[in-house]
């Protein structure tokens, strides 16, 4: 750990040699001054030894072990030359002095080593503290990001400012953008994109550049390239924090998108509602006026017919309006189902009886196989579905062609089908006939309609957790289906109260 940290504070080769020489020179000057002082005042050898040791310790603490070793060698030489008899010579007369010299040297080396190590540990601790502080600042800065705007530029600026690095380039894969802070050229910035594409984390000490891929979970979402004094571990931590920034931004975006979709939906519903109501007022006036004309009984035959025409079309327009409003409500799911137990076979019979005159001579063949199990549904909506199916069947088949209505029951669901002998619905149209305003190519030309009816049917079925589809063939005709889940038995009340 410590070795890695020191590696992260290298100095350029030239500068470090110069500094080393300078430090040695300063120590030598100090040593020389002390030597002259001690020589002039004729200090005893022991005192001189201690003073030298002090110099070595100071050098070790301030400069480092190599400087201290060098100074200790110089100090031993001085001790030998100036103080150990015979003076002004490197010859040692007394063998006991050798012991003094050797023990001084050993002591100086040990002390210098210890003190320089101590100092290095303190320096590393300080470095770590500073890096931790920076990482903390980075994480705090990330929390303060402006979430609606893209995270890349903010992150690049924040990393560069916090870690005082030369360049930061960030490639945001989600937004496919490259953001940069610093002096890199456009080409050099591509290193971030390269890192993302090759999916590789790298530390290049030659160009002092670290590359990190940013992952959210196991997915790579971005890559960062940093040029400057950054330890690999710190680069890893930066990448992790960047991942948090990207994730926050993404989830905010997702939330905002959901919120705006909801608002758009509400707005659409409100606009359609207002529009439908805005149509209803003039329609009321037209209806009142045209039906009023007829009531007065002062019109001749032609005028009666014309007034009737106006009235009829106003009524048609009103129906279209009501249907549009109904789909808008069903789509916005603001419609509340008035759910009650409904017996489908009874409902079918009811609707068929009601509709008989409107079916213009199409005989309806009923085939009901049902054990009268009720389903939970909205009578009005169910009747509307059935009415729409029957209307369509009559509209799209040859005059007087029969319409087959069948109700089947399985353990879990009820199936209603309405079959006519009408023309084939093309394969590509079968899904789309249930879309609003969509009409099959053949139908557009031959039969009047608005393309709203079946879209309401689909919405109404979905509101019941039901499903609608159509099957069509040249031979067997066209059959529209509705399947609905059955009501759990036991939910209905006893009916006779008397």
């Amino acid at each position: 750990m410590t070795s890695r940290l020191t590696m992260a504070i290298p100095l350029t080769e030239k500068r470090s040699w110069m500094l080393l020489l300078m430090q040695c020179a300063i120590s030598c000057v100090g040593l020389a001054a002390l030597t002259s002082l001690a020589f002039w005042l004729r200090f005893p050898i022991a005192t001189v030894g201690f003073i030298y040791l002090l110099v070595v310790v100071v050098a070790a603490l301030n400069y480092g072990i190599w400087q201290a070793t060098f100074i200790s060698l110089v100090a031993v030489s001085c001790l030998n030359y100036f103080f150990i008899p015979p003076v002004f010579s490197f010859v040692v007369a007394d063998n006991r002095d050798w012991i003094a010299i050797v023990s001084f040297q050993v002591c100086a080396l040990i002390v210098s080593r210890l003190s320089s190590r101590e100092q290095k540990i303190a320096r590393d601790a300080n470095y770590q503290r500073i890096q931790m502080k920076k990482l903390y600042e980075l994480s705090r800065g990330i929390l303060l990001f402006d979430l609606p705007s893209p995270p890349g530029p903010q992150l690049a600026q924040l990393i560069r400012r916090t870690f005082s690095v030369d360049d930061v380039a960030i490639f945001d894969a989600g937004l496919a953008r490259l953001d940069h802070e610093g002096t890199w050229t456009a080409d050099e910035q591509q290193i971030a994109r390269q890192a993302f594409l090759t999916d590789r984390n790298e530390d290049d000490t030659d160009i002092r550049t670290a590359q990190r891929v940013v992952r959210v979970g196991s997915t790579a979402v971005a890559a960062i390239a940093i040029r400057g004094e950054v330890d690999p571990l710190i680069a890893n931590a930066i990448a992790s924090l960047a991942a948090i920034a990207f994730e926050r931004s993404r989830s905010f975006e997702k939330e905002a998108r959901a919120e705006s979709a909801k608002q758009a939906e509400q707005l659409r519903g409100a606009v359609l509602d207002a529009l439908a109501h805005a149509f209803k007022t003039p329609l009321t006036v037209i209806c009142t006026a045209s039906s009023g004309l007829q009531e007065m009984g002062t019109l001749d035959q032609t005028e009666v017919e014309l007034a009737d025409l106006i009235n009829q079309e106003a009524v048609n327009l009103n129906q279209l309006c009501t249907r549009l409003l109904q789909t808008a409500k069903l789509e916005a799911s603001t419609v509340t189902l008035r759910a009650e137990p409904v017996i489908l076979s009874k409902l079918v019979k009811e609707v068929v009886t009601q509709l008989e005159p409107a079916l213009k001579g199409h005989p309806v063949e009923l085939s009901i196989q049902e054990r009268d199990t009720p389903l939970q549904g909205d009578r009005e909506l169910l009747m509307m579905i059935l009415t729409q199916y029957l209307d369509n069947a009559a509209k799209y088949s040859a005059p007087e062609a029969p319409i087959n209505v069948a109700v089947r029951e399985s353990d879990s669901e009820l199936l209603l089908s309405v079959c006519n002998r009408g023309p084939l619905i093309q394969m590509q149209d079968r899904e789309r006939v249930f879309e609003r305003f969509y009409r099959g190519a053949d139908a557009r030309e031959r039969i009047a309609g608005t393309g709203v009816g079946l879209s309401i049917v689909k919405k109404a079925a979905e509101a019941h957790q039901g499903h609608v589809w159509v099957v069509s063939g040249e031979e067997e005709g066209t059959t529209f289906f509705l399947s609905m889940p059955k009501l759990k038995v036991g939910g209905n009340k006893p009916w006779n109260l008397e």
Partner: protein
């Protein structure tokens, strides 16, 4: 030719104009009000034979206006005009004291029929309490509240006590929609109100006994989600 003074309350000028012109031509005298507050002050000072009241109005809405008018005059016929074909609105209107409702856009023939009917109930209610004692007759159907008998085309029809009560309630207010809850209250008792299935079952039985074609009723009509209505006059 119709007669009577009608107050038309609607915030839409064009609707007031259309109603004014047509109803006047048919013989009614028409007074207009654009707001609920205005209607209320007009009702205080002038006698009206009927009020046509729009539900959706700025300021005091139709429902509140209706309640306020009812507080002053219990007898004046009130018809609500609603643009939303919403059952809640209709039930709310009837609960607020309206006699009937009609959904915009409407046919003038239907509107005048409803106005006439509403004016008739009011006149009937103004007389001595004879409607409860006298024999009620609509089309082929005849109900004698004293003897508790019902005849269809002069042939006696057997009804259970509850069925009789239900028919009686509906026939007293023939032509007028009676909300489900009011029917349940008056026939079964005040603790009932939400049991639509009872009503539906009874109406089904009644139709089988009184209608020529129960699937296609002539007398006992359904007002979807609102209630039931006994036809006022049979169009034949």
């Amino acid at each position: 030719m119709e007669s009577g003074v009608i107050l038309v309350v609607d915030d839409e000028m064009s609707i007031r104009r259309a109603l004014h012109t047509t109803l006047q031509k048919l013989g009614f005298k028409v007074v207009e009000a654009a707001r609920g507050e205005e209607a209320l002050s007009l009702v205080r000072t002038n006698p009206f034979d009927a009020v046509l009241l729009d539900i959706n109005m700025p300021g005091m809405n139709g429902i509140d206006t209706c309640k306020n008018i009812r507080r002053l005059f219990s007898r004046i016929p009130i018809l609500m005009l609603t643009v939303r074909d919403s059952e809640d609105d209709k039930v709310e209107a009837l609960d607020a004291g309206a006699d009937d409702y009609i959904t915009k856009p409407f046919q003038l023939r239907e509107l005048t029929a409803r106005i006439r009917a509403a004016m008739r109930w009011t006149k009937a209610a103004a007389g001595p309490q004879e409607e409860t004692a006298s024999v009620l007759r609509v089309g082929d159907i005849e109900l004698d509240p004293v003897r508790r008998t019902v005849k269809k085309a002069s042939r006696s029809v057997h009804l259970t006590p509850k069925e009789f009560e239900l028919t009686h309630q509906l026939m007293i207010y023939a032509g007028r929609p009676i909300p489900h809850s009011r029917l349940l209250n008056s026939v079964w008792g005040p603790e009932y109100g939400g049991e639509l299935e009872y009503l539906r079952t009874f109406m089904h039985q009644l139709r089988r006994k009184l209608e020529d074609d129960p699937a296609n009723p002539q007398y006992l009509l359904t007002d979807a989600h609102v209630g039931y209505r006994f036809v006022e006059k049979l169009d034949r």
